[in-house]
């Protein structure tokens, strides 16, 4: 799942111009709702907080809100077309995908991001998420006992740990588990330690960001 974190409210305030007259906050009802960053609850409380702020400044700014299922699909955005047109600025609480998709659909409108898109992760506890995947475009989990060295080793090493691994923790931050410690332990548990002995050649990063902006098509939807 795409995980997000609501931006600091002071940063959001600083994005808004002094002459703003109306603001439309759009929550997104899928990934960022599940990661408790940009759903209806956050949209409404942000609306009320900003109203309180504008009032304290003696400013009369109209703030409205709506939450749609997904901001990355046209069909859901269409329902808010009128509301978007009626406001000076849109503050999107979607991930970076949703913010840009809104911009593509509404080229003349200022669309601001209200959420920081943090990573692809899992829910590890109530209100807590952990990065699991970097979206490198060439999954190698089968070679590493199901633990990703690209995302979960801070240095993305694929031929064993660096010298900074201590007591299962990473030298970058001792709050982070050493990815290679996790790989080793899990490989041991499932009897695949021998697979870790083979040398991995340099990873082809062209499927990741190094190959430029990525896109793909599902052939079942296209004729040659």
């Amino acid at each position: 799942m795409i995980v997000g974190k609501l931006k600091d409210v002071a940063e959001i305030k600083d994005m808004l111009s002094e002459d703003l007259e109306s603001l439309f906050i759009i929550g997104c009802g899928t990934c960022v709702s599940v990661s408790l960053a940009g759903g209806e609850r956050e949209a409404k409380s942000l609306r009320d907080l900003l109203e309180l702020y504008f009032r304290s400044q003696g400013r009369d700014v109209k703030v409205n809100t709506a939450t749609i299922k997904r901001q990355c699909d046209d069909e859901f955005i269409d329902s808010e077309e009128l509301a978007i047109s009626e406001h000076d600025v849109v503050l999107s609480l979607a991930c970076g995908v949703g913010v840009q998709h809104l911009g593509i659909k509404h080229p003349g409108k200022m669309i601001l991001p209200g959420v920081n898109t943090t990573f692809y992760g899992r829910n590890s506890d109530v209100g807590e998420w952990e990065e699991m995947c970097l979206g490198c475009g060439d999954c190698i989990l089968d070679d590493f006992a199901g633990v990703c060295p690209v995302a979960r080793c801070s240095k993305s090493l694929i031929n064993g740990p660096c010298g900074g691994s201590q007591d299962g923790k990473c030298e970058v931050d001792d709050e982070i588990d050493c990815g290679w410690d996790l790989i080793y332990n899990r490989a041991k548990e499932i009897g695949q330690l021998d697979r870790l002995l083979s040398y991995e050649g340099p990873k082809d990063w062209s499927t990741a960001r190094d190959g430029g902006v990525r896109s793909h098509k599902n052939p079942e939807f296209f004729s040659e």
Partner: protein
């Protein structure tokens, strides 16, 4: 559910309680895979030989033994020695009984120790019996046993931290004031009690809040003696807590009485209905995870979350934390308080303390009573501050007196986050205050409110 699934009055996870009136089934904790449903109609899935099976039950009792850890390897455990131990004893060796070696032992262990000391003296009055303890804990007739043991010349030696040491080969070194003692003999030590095996899994399966030591019952006045936060689910022994050995018989009787009462009929605890809009629900499980009463499950047909009406205890925590605003309650009204001095109080603490006060400490304040302060959303706080120039005070419960177990903490998290956001926008965070009370704190409530009103008026 299929009508072919057997339905029982009670399902025991672990050991069954003796009773001839109830239909019952016993399942090992390790076999259990899922619990759905609520009091009166739980469905338990479990691994039976090679396939999954299911039973239905009106009530569930988790009754598992504590895990025991001996503070020193190689010695005998006070809970493990039987009559044959004394019969086979070498009378020339002193018997050394130790409780509270590293942590205080339960009263039931004191009782076992005292009985063992008396039995040893009864078998062989000439045998030396030493009893080391930090604090003798009393239950039933422990005081009589203690007095009798003294009369029988059991040597009681009190120790504090660091005054008693057991070496690896079982020798005792005791040093206190003017006494220096080294002893060896037959050593019997009270074990340290730990939560039963499998409680982690069971807490997940039943979705119940655990205490800080890992037991399935939190320290809370609403959960005595064997209640869990989930209606119809009872916890005993090593599932309940470190003191569960003390009043075992009473706790068993209470549990059976409760089960029988439940079988007569169970009512919803609140007239208001809470429902989930399946079109808005994104199945994020936040409500499920925060519910202190294990009252929420996924509706498999609708693929949305579902609040079970008999299990729900009406705290509204799920409503305030739902990221999609998908949960509503029937009696909900939009309030627009305007007063400069607004107070939101929990009906289980501040409201009761208010009733007990000699005069109304909330006179002149705009008071909203809520079932639990976890009802409060951040948007409520901002709306109230926007509706007036005044202050907002929220009065929740102290931890042990919070009927909804985690409700007080959840509210404090919301208030703290709201205050932080206000500060970031140069708005006065002191306009919102949060305070914890117990229902017995009428005097504290009055004093606190007097101070707060004074500050607000300034």
């Amino acid at each position: 559910m299929s009508g072919s699934i057997a339905h029982y009055d009670v399902a025991y996870i672990g050991q069954a309680l003796k009773n001839n009136e109830l239909s019952q089934v016993t399942l090992p904790a390790s076999s259990l895979t899922e619990c759905r449903g609520e009091i009166g109609n739980f469905t338990l899935s479990y691994q039976a030989e090679e396939e999954l099976d299911q039973i239905q039950t009106s009530n569930i009792v988790i009754n598992l033994p504590h895990q025991e850890e001996l503070p020193v390897e190689g010695c005998l455990s006070l809970t493990g020695v039987g009559e044959e131990f004394l019969a086979e004893a070498d009378g020339d060796k002193p018997l050394i009984i130790i409780q509270d070696y590293q942590e205080l032992s339960a009263a039931a262990l004191s009782q076992r120790g005292l009985k063992l000391a008396l039995q040893a003296k009864s078998e062989d009055p000439a045998r030396e019996v030493y009893y080391f303890y930090q604090a003798m804990r009393f239950m039933d007739n422990n005081d009589e046993l203690y007095e009798e043991a003294r009369r029988q010349e059991v040597i009681f030696l009190k120790h504090d931290l660091g005054e008693l040491e057991i070496s690896q080969d079982g020798e005792i070194f005791y040093s206190r004031e003017d006494i220096e003692l080294s002893l060896s003999g037959e050593l019997v030590v009270a074990p340290e009690l730990k939560p039963a095996a499998e409680v982690d899994r069971l807490a997940r399966i039943f979705n119940i809040t655990r205490g800080p030591e890992g037991y399935l019952q939190v320290d809370n006045i609403y959960l005595q003696p064997t209640l869990s936060g989930k209606r119809g689910l009872y916890v005993l022994g090593g599932a309940r807590g470190p003191n569960a050995l003390t009043y075992q018989q009473e706790e068993r009787e209470y549990t059976l009485q409760e089960i029988k009462r439940n079988l007569i009929g169970v009512e919803e605890l609140d007239e208001e209905e809470r429902s989930v809009d399946d079109q808005k629900c994104v199945v994020c499980y936040t409500c499920y995870r925060v519910c202190p009463h294990g009252a929420i499950q996924r509706d498999e047909e609708l693929n949305s979350m579902q609040i079970m009406p008999l299990a729900c205890q009406s705290c509204n925590l799920c409503i305030s934390r739902c990221p999609m605003g998908a949960i509503t309650r029937s009696g909900e009204v939009e309030e627009q308080p305007q007063s400069d001095r607004q107070v939101i109080i929990c009906e289980n603490s501040a409201a009761l303390a208010r009733e007990k006060a000699d005069f109304d400490p909330m006179a002149g304040l705009e008071v909203t009573e809520v079932p639990c302060v976890s009802t409060v959303k951040k948007e409520h706080i901002y709306q109230r501050l926007a509706g007036s120039e005044g202050d907002l005070l929220i009065l929740g419960c102290i931890s042990e007196a919070c009927k909804h177990l985690t409700g007080h903490d959840r509210c404090e998290q919301v208030v703290s986050s709201a205050k932080s956001d206000l500060e970031k926008l140069d708005l006065d965070p002191e306009r919102v205050n949060y305070q914890r009370l117990s229902p017995r704190m009428a005097a504290d409530l009055s004093a606190y409110l007097t101070d707060w009103k004074g500050e607000v008026l300034q």
